[in-house]
């Protein structure tokens, strides 16, 4: 049996010869040949298909096209000598099937309609978000009243996953940021001969703003996305429905341990980041400005009031709550489908970071008014 018979089609007077393997690999070439053919005008055209050695659905479709273009006066052309199994296939594709390529959703064409739809979905989303905030506040209040409701085991696990395991990366990043700030400051301070002020610069900026912010942004990327993806996947695999039907509140089981764990872990991470960041600054102060560790620490005590540290630390639990709630909320919004998981995970990170920075800005303005 010759396998790679070149497929072909040719016309000799009133006979159209088809030969070879009318299968996928040859279809491109066959289609091209067919386009160059000039179909005979006579009515007694015959199709000779004795030499067709193979045929698949695509080949049958092409042959069907040829037959259709030659058919005149409703007289059906029957290919001569076609093997019975190929004839079956031809018969199958012959049954006309309506065109399939239609777009899935027909969106309204007028811009008013589109705008209305966008507004409606925004409105629905914000009422869902409000409902979520309400539900989680109630769950939180109830947990405060009855600490038994808190799932301590899960909570501790999340403290480990999102706090302890985040130590290396947060440490490294704030260390580097401490170095960067000290370097930039060193350049300017040396010009004025006020080397010792490096302590004020590094201490206040890190403790008050930069360390809490860096930690929060990192955790938003690290844990907020994980929360959204975890809860969303549970939704897709019907685990969330199972939780509900077993009479367990998803708030207590999923949201509360995550949110409380972050509220505990983020301040601790911030303190750690403060220490490591300031240490990075100390190294540069020693290397670039000849401020020894002893001088640095002595100056630190008088130049950096403890309120800067407390303000930085005080913001951390709020950052944590924002990140955890946004992550969990986006997880619950996932409706199914792979791209939906990806989209909401992205949104959880972007919104988490956005809210953290907005909250930080508001704090700065308010604290400035109160002269803190």
């Amino acid at each position: 049996m010759l396998v790679k018979s070149q497929a072909g089609i040719s016309i000799d007077k009133h006979v159209i010869y088809c030969r070879g393997a009318w299968t996928l690999p040859n279809l491109v070439q066959l289609e091209r040949q067919i386009q160059t053919l000039r179909w005979p005008d006579a009515s007694d055209v015959q199709f000779d298909t004795v030499d067709v050695t193979a045929m698949d659905t695509g080949g049958a479709l092409l042959l069907h096209r040829c037959l259709r273009s030659i058919t005149r006066n409703d007289r059906e052309n029957i290919p001569q000598g076609l093997r019975p199994e190929f004839a079956d296939l031809l018969q199958k594709v012959h049954t006309p099937s309506p065109c399939v390529e239609q777009k899935a959703v027909a969106f309204g064409t007028s811009w008013v309609e589109r705008l209305t739809r966008v507004m409606q979905s925004r409105q629905a989303a914000s009422s869902r978000a409000l409902a979520f905030i309400g539900e989680s506040t109630i769950a939180f209040g109830r947990a405060l009243a009855h600490p038994r409701l808190i799932r301590w085991r899960a909570l501790l696990r999340f403290v480990e996953l999102d706090g302890v395991r985040a130590l290396p990366i947060t440490g490294l990043l704030t260390f580097l940021v401490g170095i960067v700030i000290a370097y930039q400051g060193a350049e300017q301070l040396r010009k004025f001969g006020t080397n010792i002020f490096i302590v004020d610069l590094v201490g206040i900026s890190l403790l008050r703003e930069i360390a809490p912010l860096i930690v929060a942004i990192l955790i938003a990327g690290r844990s907020g996305s994980a929360y959204a993806a975890e809860i969303g996947t549970m939704k897709v695999t019907e685990e969330l429905d199972a939780v509900r039907t077993l009479g367990i509140s998803p708030m207590n089981l999923l949201v509360l341990p995550r949110a409380l764990a972050l509220v505990i872990a983020l301040p601790l991470l911030t303190v750690y980041a403060d220490v490591v960041g300031v240490f990075g600054g100390m190294l540069i102060a020693l290397g670039e400005l000849n401020v020894s560790f002893v001088e640095f620490i002595a100056r630190f005590e008088e130049a950096v009031p403890v309120r800067h540290f407390l303000i930085g630390l005080g913001k951390a639990p709020f950052f944590a709550a924002l990140i955890a709630l946004v992550g969990c909320y986006q997880g619950f919004q996932i409706r199914g489908g792979v791209d939906d998981v990806g989209r909401h995970t992205t949104i959880s990170v972007v919104q988490g970071i956005f809210l953290v920075i907005v909250f930080d800005a508001i704090c700065s303005i308010l604290l400035n008014w109160w002269d803190l």
Binding site: L24, P25, T57, L61
Partner: protein
């Protein structure tokens, strides 16, 4: 029925396949052992599947049916032993790097494996778009033909997978599996979770497609009705080995206690009576 010639894609594969005569098994599993950590799933399994049959892999839950299927199509590698697919070591398939053999078989996964971001028609068209340079018009026609072959309504073509029912999703996955007119079709639990009417219709569909396209079908199934109704040969897995292999009539006479329990439980009996009533009219 005369076999369709193999449609090789590149020179090398052509030489190999044209030399293969019809009696050579399409799939040859020899001395396969599979271990997951400490657990031994398969201990020295050997079987071969011939061209043109509907070969069923049966057995209790957790006996490694799906694992064997995934090994055959190169998704996982057995701990030892070899599996040859069209005479080619299936370990070479592992990378999913578009080896020409991939165009010669289609797989229908248990959950369908449809791409959720594409419509049904786009899903079915994926293999054609990836592997051929056919014109858009011809691709559209082939996709439409396949959708009607699996008896899906034409208006479902524009729907996304999550808008389809379980049975329709199964059919859509089947349409995608056969869109390249493969020689070999793998079905993983094709009728699991379908109601009896839809399941029977699905069996009929597989049978008619097999006739129409000259397929060799390998299916993993629990469904005794499918086993009696359409399988030409059945391998029963259990205790890590092949407990029995042959036609259902042969297996029904088996002495092995597990095989006996499998086929002579209440469900097995009724499925058999049902098949006897139909007089195996569904057989080719």
């Amino acid at each position: 029925m005369e076999q369709r010639p193999l449609s090789g894609w590149d020179g090398e594969a052509l030489v190999k396949t044209s030399a293969v005569d019809i009696e050579t098994p399409v799939i040859d599993v020899s001395h396969v052992t599979t271990k997951f950590g400490q657990a031994v799933v398969h201990a020295d399994i050997s079987l071969s599947i011939r061209r043109g049959e509907i070969f069923a892999i049966a057995g209790g839950n957790g006996c490694g049916k799906t694992t064997l299927l995934r090994e055959i199509i190169g998704l996982i590698t057995p701990s030892s032993g070899t599996i040859r697919l069209f005479g080619l070591d299936s370990r070479k398939l592992e990378m999913g790097d578009g080896h020409p053999v991939h165009r010669r078989f289609g797989v229908m996964f248990q959950q369908g494996g449809l791409f959720s971001s594409l419509t049904l028609a786009e899903n079915v068209a994926v293999p054609l778009r990836e592997h051929t340079t056919l014109s858009a018009g011809l691709i559209r026609d082939i996709v439409a033909a396949k959708i009607s072959m699996v008896e899906l309504p034409p208006d479902s073509a524009g729907k996304y997978p999550n808008e389809l029912s379980g049975g329709m999703r199964r059919r859509a996955a089947l349409a995608r599996a056969i869109v390249m007119d493969p020689e070999l079709l793998f079905l993983d639990e094709p009728t699991a979770g379908l109601d009896p009417i839809v399941a029977t219709a699905f069996d009929e569909l597989v049978l008619s497609l097999k006739r129409l396209l000259g397929l060799t079908v390998v299916m993993v199934t629990h469904d005794l009705d499918s086993l009696w109704g359409i399988a030409t040969r059945v391998a029963v897995l259990g205790r890590g080995t092949v407990l029995g292999i042959g036609t259902m009539q042969e297996l029904a006479r088996s002495d092995d206690p597990i095989v006996r329990d499998y086929f002579h439980g209440p469900r097995g009996r009724s499925a058999r009576e049902q098949a006897a009533q139909n007089g195996h009219s569904r057989h080719v």
